[in-house]
Symmetry: C2
Subunit: 442 residues, 2 copies
């Protein structure tokens, strides 16, 4: 009687960029993959701010995971949230109690918001990581204008028409620039008692410049473009308190208060709680953001059967010719890590030595708003830095190119084309009009 040899069981947690690429990379392998995702979709996060600002509908940037992998027979997609990683038993426990055993595990669970120890700010200043976040931010933005239209008290009206974005990274810059677009263009002529163009948009950044991952001159260009769009950028400004009516800021010249009923958090990320699980189970160290420190080949020390990729990993890039460099928490890095982790699993299965991870940095791009972006491009042809209208076009096409799915690309292209010409935004849906109540002042 022949014994049936079970194929190696690979479990991949998370279908963000890291998990997606790892799963794809294993498509021809004689393995059984279980892909676990706690929403039913892969989210194209770079465009999430567009859903948050009512410029795109959610389905344009969210692809159902099991649809993406329908033609890959060695993948079983399951919808569920991992709550426990049992390292010794080599199994995961889901929230509904289901146990999933593995021979090899890739944890690509990503990151969430960090409020720097002030978790009480979370309901007051939503961040932008998931579609639910985007819906909530969208709701608050649209409601703020609606409430201003109804309120005859000038001070309260001003607070409704003051929008504060905390954090000068790409997400914050994109949100602030788009808020300015909404106030100055999209809502033009639609109100009778307020002038939406009179809205104040503030971008608060703790360090000395915005877009810290970019070269200094592009940071400066971004500030110029933001200012031209009508955003007030305040660097060297730290938020010390947030309540339902506004926030307290510590700036260069002292402390002051901003009355603002719509505050958006784009200032800090923290790794998924699964990082702490892995640290407990394997002894792997965590960095300050809770990310798991991985070996050069992305596995955990002493546990070659577990790899961590994407925003959950604190990884280094190894190449001849330079010292190991930290890998940034950006989408291209997550994708490359996913591919490397998958390739290394196959190498282990074949008894071959694993590869050290090498991050190929193609550069950085961030949009600021209508006709404005900054691009820092690293290519075999050289290093290009540009900004303004041409950078904005480049940004548009790059994002459409990287979107998953032909139909999504067509939809987004059409949405943007029509939005550009008409200065309109087409996903302005609010279903719940209960306004966030102002919290009692501490």
């Amino acid at each position: 009687m022949q014994s049936t040899i079970q194929r190696p069981r690979i479990v991949i947690v998370g279908c963000g960029f890291g998990g997606l690429e790892a799963t794809r990379a294993l498509r021809h392998a004689a393995v059984d993959i279980t892909l676990l995702e706690r929403t039913n979709h892969h989210l194209f996060q770079p465009l999430l701010y567009q859903v948050a600002t009512a410029g795109l509908s959610a389905p344009a940037i969210a692809a159902p995971v099991r649809h993406l992998f329908r033609k890959q027979p060695n993948v079983t997609t399951l919808l569920g949230e991992v709550v426990t990683i049992e390292v010794a038993a080599r199994q995961l426990l889901l929230a509904d109690g289901l146990a999933i055993g593995y021979d090899h595990l890739i944890v690509a669970a990503g990151a969430t918001h960090s409020y720097f120890g002030h978790d009480e700010w979370a309901p007051l200043a939503p961040g932008l990581k998931t579609l639910d976040d985007a819906f909530e931010i969208r709701r608050r933005i649209l409601l703020a204008f609606e409430e201003a239209e109804k309120d005859s008290d000038p001070a309260r009206r001003d607070a409704w028409l003051t929008f504060t974005v905390i954090g000068g990274g790409p997400t914050g810059v994109e949100m602030a620039g788009t808020l300015a677009e909404i106030a100055r263009h999209t809502l033009s002529g639609e109100f009778r008692r307020i002038d939406p163009a009179s809205a104040k948009i503030l971008l608060i950044e703790g360090s000395a410049r915005v877009l810290q991952a970019m070269p200094q001159d592009l940071s400066q260009r971004a500030i110029e473009q933001l200012t031209k769009l009508g955003v007030e950028v305040r660097v060297d400004s730290r938020v010390t308190a947030i309540d339902g009516d506004g926030l307290e800021v510590q700036g260069a010249s002292g402390s002051y208060r901003i009355a603002s009923r719509c505050v958006i958090w784009a200032a800090g990320v923290a790794a998924s709680p699964l990082g702490a699980q892995l640290a407990r189970g394997t002894g792997a160290p965590l960095d300050r953001a809770g990310r798991v420190q991985v070996e050069p080949d992305l596995s955990l020390a002493g546990h070659p059967e577990i790899s961590v990729v994407g925003d959950l990993a604190a990884a280094m890039s190894h190449a001849d010719g330079h010292d190991p460099r930290p890998v940034p928490g950006v989408s291209p890095a997550a994708k490359q890590m996913g591919r490397t982790a998958a390739a290394n699993i196959l190498r282990r299965l074949a008894g071959q030595p694993t590869l050290k991870f090498r991050y190929r940095d193609y550069g950085n791009l961030a949009t600021i708003g209508r006709n404005a972006a900054v691009v820092d491009l690293v290519s075999p042809l050289g290093h290009f830095k540009f900004s303004g209208y041409f950078a904005w076009l480049f940004w548009l096409f790059a994002h459409i190119y990287f979107l998953i799915g032909f139909r999504n690309r067509l939809v987004v292209l059409m949405d943007w084309a029509s939005a550009y010409w008409s200065k309109q935004r087409y996903a302005r849906v609010v279903t719940d009009i209960e306004v966030p109540a102002p919290a009692p002042r501490p």
Copy 2:
């Protein structure tokens, strides 16, 4: 010193079809209109089932109200929910405390679900009236397949793969037919442990036929098309109990239980609670569904300054040559009532006699699913009844024609074209995977 004469204040409650058309009809009038809507959008309800079945995104069928009326200077749009109608004082109170005075009032607040006295069924069997309803139904449909994929117990799996739609009107028929499409086509090949095509789709109807507003032969045609699509239609079947695991049905041959984890309610509507407000304030009678009985010119007896239109009104259609006929609760009727009520306000302002409302019935149409629909068309050229593929094309183009907004029309046309060719549905987004817990059996 000249005294400023204030223009007549017209307040319109609700921006469904009735409120929308009434507001439009007053666009050239020297009046000040306040349009109150408790969401920020006008909803194209005939296509709401498409959002519920993940075929269209919400923004495709929802147009922001203040955007629709930006070019009508005599309209001020306010987002708010009316909680009290103070008839003697001629003012409305909103949920946030704002008071809005009126000289003339059109209440177009529509209808909600009726569970025939069993409000406890509401969380177990969601209905389909608002976008939030559609999101919830979509969530439960997609989750049901996901849970079935994870559950190895055959009985529980069967319950997850049994979908029950209660109510054989157009909404129920459309939902059931589309559920069959999802199970047989959309999800094909996407699961590894279940065969989604094995899902059971049940349509439960209390009376002897579906689509009661249609001629008998078209009802029969609809049942045939549903059956061909794989829906099991059970007429003469009344629901007697719903719990989280399934429902009890009283049929011709006795009582029996259906184990079904996804139950959708499409069986009854009840008028908005504002109907009861008006009855209390004016003495106007309500019918069994809570709709307000109106005079031939759509105003309330003894209160010519108040009109009620749309699903909230129990109105009669008056024309020479036939007795007054009840006006059905359909979109074209709401639109016509809105226009008539607005015209009558202008007549009253001009001291002219008002018009009796006359409903022009152009017929009825209902889609069943892919390539299948029934159309009952009344036109000056004659009365046409047809079904099948051609009826389905007609249905598609009629709905696109009546959609508000060119861009929405283009989006929906594209979505449907690509969905048809690929048999895919593109709005399959689930963000909250908490499954509705089975309720304890009573």
